[in-house]
């Protein structure tokens, strides 16, 4: 083969690799309920089961009884509620630098986004029919109604920017804020979620778990432990289940009790939980936003003020007493006499002599 021939073959190989990487795995289906569907860009639609890889440009659809949870390679997780449609428009992640880009489109439904490494370094965008959400380092629950209106609850993070299709923008920076964007209208001013207001996690929860689901989860997990490729993903078929003697409910409780997770969380108690294991983030320690220098610092400052006050007053006293004892310093002992005659002063000094 000539030199040019080798170059052409190599280039074709590189192009082929690049094309494949565009459809490469960006995450994995981690929990499902019902039969959520995934439509990769160059493959037939399939039912998303636990362990099935999710690809860039994949479209995910759920019906009334479906739910799905996807974990991305950077740690981002996305819960997709019933009657939802979502597409992964862009996903680029460099695991060595922990940076990348992520863009999603949500046409309808309810979602919960928990940011991973990408959102900590750059804004993740989520486009809806009425708005574009820009999320930095946080947790956001959002829903898109059948009409296309968007409602977003900013639960935690740096910021959630909401821009309407007309270009009007509102930004939430405070945990527990919500913004609504009606179709064709501007976003509302960020408002705090009312006291006792529900965050909406129940729409994502599964109400009952039976043996069939447990078996399905176990079976899918077994599948996930095998190396899979996009071409080996299952086609859209319903999973057949077999009875199991080990419901997931039991295994979650058992796993929890064995893990000792509570020792590093709820068992710390309310005060210690706030100081232990929290990321050393300067923002969290910002005055007025959770930072607390502690009792000893406050007392030390007050002690210093008190010490200076004692010194100041006693210097004036000493100078006064000494001056009165002077001139000539011939009878400095009178200073004691003078001080002893000072109202209130004699008590301490006199008693000590």
């Amino acid at each position: 083969m000539t030199r040019w021939g080798i170059r052409i073959v190599l280039m074709a190989f590189v192009v082929a690799l690049a094309a494949e990487s565009a459809w490469a795995r960006v995450g994995v289906t981690s929990v499902t309920d019902g039969d959520p569907l995934g439509q990769p860009p160059a493959e037939p639609e399939r039912v998303l089961r636990v362990g099935v890889d999710v690809q860039a440009n994949e479209k995910i659809t759920t019906k009334a009884n479906d739910r799905a949870h996807v974990v991305f390679l950077d740690g981002t997780s996305l819960t997709i509620g019933p009657n939802s449609v979502l597409a992964i428009d862009k996903y680029v992640y460099d695991p060595n630098r922990k940076t990348g880009e992520m863009a999603l489109s949500a046409t309808r439904g309810a979602f919960r986004f928990v940011g991973g490494a990408i959102s900590k370094n750059s804004e993740v965008t989520i486009k809806t029919p009425s708005a574009t959400l820009g999320i930095r380092g946080g947790i956001v629950a959002f829903s898109v109604s059948a009409s296309g209106a968007t409602h977003a609850s900013f639960l935690y993070g740096e910021s959630m920017r909401v821009t309407s299709s007309q270009g009007s923008t509102q930004t939430a920076t405070r945990n527990g804020s919500e913004i609504t964007v009606p179709v064709g209208g501007p976003p509302t001013t960020p408002a705090l979620i009312p006291f006792g207001g529900t965050i909406g996690e129940r729409s994502f929860e599964r109400s009952q778990v039976g043996p069939a689901e447990a078996e399905a989860a176990i079976q899918q997990q077994t599948t996930a432990s095998q190396p899979t490729s996009p071409t080996s993903a299952p086609t859209p078929t319903t999973t057949t289940s077999s009875p199991t003697t080990q419901p997931v409910t039991t295994s979650i409780e058992e796993a929890f009790d064995r893990s000792g997770f509570g020792k590093s969380n709820s068992l710390l108690g309310p005060q210690l939980a706030l100081t232990k294991g929290i990321r050393s983030d300067a923002k969290q320690d910002k005055p007025g936003q959770g930072g607390d220098k502690g009792a000893s610092t406050s007392v030390t400052r007050l002690q210093r003020i008190a010490g200076r006050a004692i010194t100041q007053q006693n210097i004036v006293f000493n100078t006064t007493a000494t001056t009165k004892a002077d001139p000539g310093n011939s009878a400095f002992g009178q200073a004691q006499g003078n001080s002893g005659n000072n109202k209130g002063k004699g008590k301490g000094k006199g008693n000590n002599n």
Binding site: V28, S30, H69, V71, S77, V114, L155, Y156, T171, R174, N175, I193, F195, G196, T198, I199, E201, F204, R206, S207, Q220, Q221, V248, T249, I252, A255, F256, S259, S264, N265, P270, Q271, L272, S280, A282, K286, P287, G288, A295, S296, V299, R301, L302, Q303, I305, A306, G307, I310, Q312, Q313, N314, F317, N318, T319, T322, D326, N342, G344, K345, K347
Partner: protein
């Protein structure tokens, strides 16, 4: 204005003293580093284990033990969102898991996302499958959520203790001067040791303004009282009050994390049960993170001090005056277990008489090291703080009643050590020791003192 640099006239001025001071300061700041270094190696291991656990969750995405292992490590490395993601996944498998909901509620509580926390905690408490212990713990955290998410919040700390000082009245050790003549020191004027009982505390109130920048009206009331066993002229009581709204005025740009707080401040001090001075003024504090681990704050304020004549200090009012103060603070989280604080302060005080006016510059640092309970008492995190600071002041003119030819100037050095042993969520055993030395151009102002304090702190 008097100039700095009268070291040759200082009462205590051995040439080796400077070397000694520097050595002591460095030793104090670095004493705790080896302790912290022992704690850093496991952090690296934990991080590697956390990364491996995440990879494992990709292989076994719905396996409860794998998810809980990952969540546990995520909490240890400070990735609370990662832990939330893992636990919420378990609720997708089975929503009726009160223990998982309790942990999620606590995680959101730790992130100060109180409505999300409340939702999970109430759900955990309401579950028919929840054990009495789970319900009780959920109730305990709900109480905290309520207190932290209300519009009006009180918090604070109190300290009661017993102390001892080798020089309670901060009196001079050596000969003193009067009208330029050296006079014999007497026990009444000289420093005297004594024990005391101390009560101190700070009550903080925060009124939430409901703004996106967490803006709030912050008010702090500090009080301090020390009653001596014998040296009554060192009895001191003070009240210190500061109030002002804290907001984040910059929404975008590199200053978007900055908070500013214009404030009003007031103070009242009595010494030996006699009014010593009032002070009032106003200022501005600007605080901003300079990086992921560094916080900084600049505070400037002007204040009027009104000294009051009293039988102990019949010429006290000559010290009345106005001051302008600028303080710069840095707080650096060196590791998860070590925090370094640095500060510098500049004060210009202009009094009624020139001999009481001064310019003062000071700087200091403190290293706090946190470590696991070494005695296995209750497994809580102890902390030690070593601090060192210096201040140098130069007075504008000589005080003729002391020495008509030599203006007062002084150099302070302060070394401190604090041990905090938490006894419970709200109680802490406090051990504190300080060494203060003031050298001065005139012996009247020089003193040294070694103080200790043992007490109990209560935080609410």
């Amino acid at each position: 204005m008097a100039k700095f640099g009268l070291r040759s006239e200082f009462a205590y001025h051995p040439r080796d003293m400077w070397t000694f001071r520097i050595a002591v300061v460095i030793a104090a700041l670095t004493a705790a580093i080896p302790v912290a270094a022992q704690q850093t190696t496991p952090v690296v291991d934990t991080r590697a284990a956390y990364d491996a656990a995440f990879e494992e969750t990709l292989r076994k995405p719905a396996d409860p033990p794998t998810l809980l292992r990952y969540a546990e490590l995520a909490v240890q490395v400070g990735d609370l969102e990662g832990a939330i993601s893992a636990l919420e996944r378990l609720l997708l498998i089975d929503s009726d898991q009160p223990k998982i909901k309790l942990e999620l509620g606590v995680l959101y509580y730790r992130l100060a996302s109180y409505e999300a926390a409340r939702s999970y905690l109430e759900s955990a408490r309401a579950s028919s499958r929840a054990s009495p212990e789970t319900k009780e713990r959920a109730k305990q955290f709900l109480k905290e959520v309520d207190s932290k998410s209300g519009k009006s919040q009180f918090s604070g700390d109190l300290l009661f203790g017993i102390g001892y000082s080798t020089n309670a009245n901060t009196g001079p050790a050596g000969a003193i001067q009067s009208f330029g003549a050296t006079v014999v020191p007497t026990p009444t004027v000289s420093g005297r040791p004594d024990f005391n009982v101390i009560g101190a505390g700070t009550i903080r109130h925060r009124y939430d303004l409901g703004r996106q920048d967490n803006g709030a009206l912050e008010s702090d009331l500090g009080f301090y009282g020390a009653r001596q066993f014998q040296v009554s002229e060192a009895n001191v009581y003070l009240l210190d009050f500061t109030t002002g709204p804290r907001t984040s005025p910059f929404e975008d740009g590199w200053l978007n994390d900055m908070t500013v707080k214009p404030f009003f401040t007031g103070r009242y001090v009595s010494v030996n049960s006699l009014p010593s001075y009032w002070a009032w003024g106003a200022g501005m504090e600007a605080a901003t993170p300079l990086g992921p681990q560094i916080n900084s704050a600049l505070t400037v304020f002007g204040r009027r001090r009104e000294f009051l004549n009293n039988p102990d200090a019949p010429t006290n009012n000559q010290s009345s005056g106005n001051e302008a103060v600028a303080v710069l603070d840095f707080r650096v989280a060196l590791t998860k277990y070590m925090t370094l604080s640095l500060n510098g302060a500049l004060t210009r005080y202009i009094a009624e008489v020139a001999s009481e006016s001064y310019l003062e510059f000071g700087f200091g640092g403190a290293m706090q090291v946190r470590f696991a309970d070494p005695l296995g008492i209750n497994g809580r995190t102890w902390s030690v703080t070593a601090s060192a600071s210096t201040a140098q002041a130069a007075y504008d003119a000589a005080d003729i009643t002391v020495n008509p030819f030599i203006a007062r100037s002084q150099f302070d050095i302060n070394l401190g050590f604090v041990l905090l042993v938490p006894l419970s969520d709200s109680l802490t055993l406090v051990g504190q020791t300080n060494y203060t030395q003031r050298t001065a151009s005139l012996t009247n102002y020089a003193y040294e003192a070694f103080t200790t304090l043992v007490g109990i702190g209560w935080r609410f």
